[in-house]
């Protein structure tokens, strides 16, 4: 019998170019913020999970979870780094959830972080591209923007999606990011700015792609029954889903259906015993703006091929019926890959507590996060609920 799990604290660093701070510094900062927020400074933690993709490659440091428990004295808590590509953060949250739900741990820290700036862009681009299939994709020169571009053109051929819709998602997420003090990009953009930005991988322009970022985020978990001992505003994890798909994108039965998203969402909704229409706010993985639209369809918020209509009508704006990426998303908050899955949860916790400031969604009760790894071949979905 699994125990109900609550999030009792959250912390996040500024996202962007964090000069003078290394990966461990930002993981420490986010973790201490979360522990402090939970009022758990005097308590002993049982386990620690750290989502990270590229510490060994970019920071020349391995076993970073051991380093983190040492820096902030969580010794002798169990500690491990979780690497699952751009879904590392979501995977870390899932592992933390299991640790509490199973009864093995009563107090858990989940952190996610990545330090990506200060390194040659070509190096970052190449390291990210290595998550593609080595012989069927990578060797031909497939980078992440190229994958997203191939996907986008298929969408445009099949549905009424145009470049303008991608621009509209970017405009919305920039506007949201402007209201988020942690966001990397703090500037409004217009549809015209986006449409005239540099071509990266036709039909994708610069404004339809997320930036390269540093940042870290963390949450503290405990059994729901004990949550009130820590905070008057706990947030429950109602369910999760996690699914995979073929490594090579072209091999999927219908390449524009994100099957791993679909299955992960179905699992999460089943476990939470709610439906897509019960969700009040969502954080989706818009590493490329097409993905916000595609995920919103495959999760079940909108019919396949109609996600762009919701963007057009303002449904996904902060004051719309289903706000998506009030944080600014990966596009404006930034995408330090290992941090993203945890940062999405932090944003939703703030939204459910009613502490999201200028970007607060009205009366949010239930929230969904989708953290997308690989090019769609490894996806996590979490569903949260305001605890009362």
């Amino acid at each position: 019998m699994m125990r109900d799990v609550a999030i009792i604290g959250c912390g996040i660093t500024k996202f962007g170019h964090l000069d003078g701070k290394d990966l461990m510094d930002i993981l420490v900062e986010a973790s201490l913020n979360a522990i402090d927020d939970a009022g758990a400074s005097e308590f002993d933690f049982d386990s620690v999970y750290v989502g990270n993709m590229l510490a060994g490659e970019l920071s020349h440091q391995t076993a970073i979870a051991s380093a983190l428990v040492d820096r902030i004295n969580l010794i002798p808590a169990s500690a491990e780094r979780i690497e699952n590509g751009p879904a590392s953060g979501g995977s870390a949250v899932k592992n933390g959830f299991f640790a509490v739900a199973s009864g093995a741990s009563d107090l858990v820290l989940v952190a996610g972080g990545e330090k990506m700036t200060g390194v040659n862009t070509g190096t970052i681009s190449d390291l990210m591209a290595t998550l593609n299939h080595p012989t069927a994709e990578y060797v031909h020169g497939a980078t992440m923007p190229a994958m997203a571009a191939l996907f986008t053109r298929l969408y445009m051929e099949r549905y009424s999606l145009t470049e303008r819709h991608l621009a509209m998602v970017a405009v919305k997420n920039h506007a949201n990011g402007l209201k988020n003090p942690c966001a990397q990009l703090h500037k409004l953009c217009t549809v015209e700015d986006a449409l005239s930005s540099a071509m990266v991988s036709d039909p994708l322009r610069l404004y339809y792609c997320c930036p390269i970022s540093d940042g870290a985020a963390a949450v503290v978990l405990c059994p729901a029954k004990k949550a009130k001992e820590f905070t008057p505003k706990p947030v429950k994890i109602l369910g999760f889903g996690h699914a995979t798909d073929t490594h090579a994108f072209q091999e999927r039965e219908d390449p524009i259906v994100l099957k791993s998203v679909k299955i992960a969402a179905q699992q999460a909704f089943k476990m939470a015993n709610i439906k897509p229409e019960d969700i009040d706010v969502a954080e989706l993985h818009d590493a490329f703006e097409i993905l916000e639209i595609a995920e919103s369809e495959d999760i079940g918020f909108f019919k396949k091929g109609e996600g762009q209509l919701a963007v057009e009508k303002g449904v996904t704006a902060i004051d719309g019926e289903l706000p998506i990426n009030p944080s600014g998303g990966l596009k404006a908050r930034g995408h330090p890959v290992g941090a993203t899955g945890v940062a999405q949860i932090v944003e939703l916790v703030l939204q459910l507590r009613g502490e999201a400031g200028e970007r607060q969604v009205r009366d949010a009760q239930r929230a969904l996060a989708c953290n997308f790894g690989g090019f769609g071949n490894n996806t996590l979905v979490h569903i949260l609920e305001r605890g009362n």
Binding site: A129, V139, H140
Partner: protein
């Protein structure tokens, strides 16, 4: 040098796959015959990549996904000047790029003259 672009046909259910899997995507069987994917395919999507990966000479790099007559798809560099979805292509053995100063060869796709 490879003569033909090869796929892997499951000995049990007949499904043809590219790239190779150690267990069939259809039935989990572990034995396959190597089969030619054929000389004719058509383009289903493409991109011109301006942020060039290292070791690639073609600028911009045109990448695409093709579909063979047996419905098997493959990703590769597109040599045709004006790619259009639906256009007929055929696989050509050529240098793809250099990785760590080593030349890597494989199949690209060119228009049928």
């Amino acid at each position: 040098m490879q003569e033909k672009m090869m796929g892997f046909m499951c000995k049990k259910c007949g499904k043809v796959m590219y790239p190779k899997h150690e267990r069939c995507l259809g039935c989990k069987n572990t034995e396959f015959d190597e089969v030619s994917l054929g000389d004719e395919c058509h383009l289903i999507t493409f991109t011109k990549l301006y942020a060039l990966p290292r070791g690639i000479e073609m600028s911009p790099l045109t990448l695409g996904i093709v579909e063979f007559n047996n419905k098997v798809r493959a990703m590769g560099q597109i040599m045709a000047d004006d790619p259009e979805p639906g256009m007929d292509l055929h696989p050509v053995w050529a240098k793809l790029r250099t990785i760590d100063e080593k030349e890597v060869y494989g199949f690209k796709f060119d228009s049928i003259v």
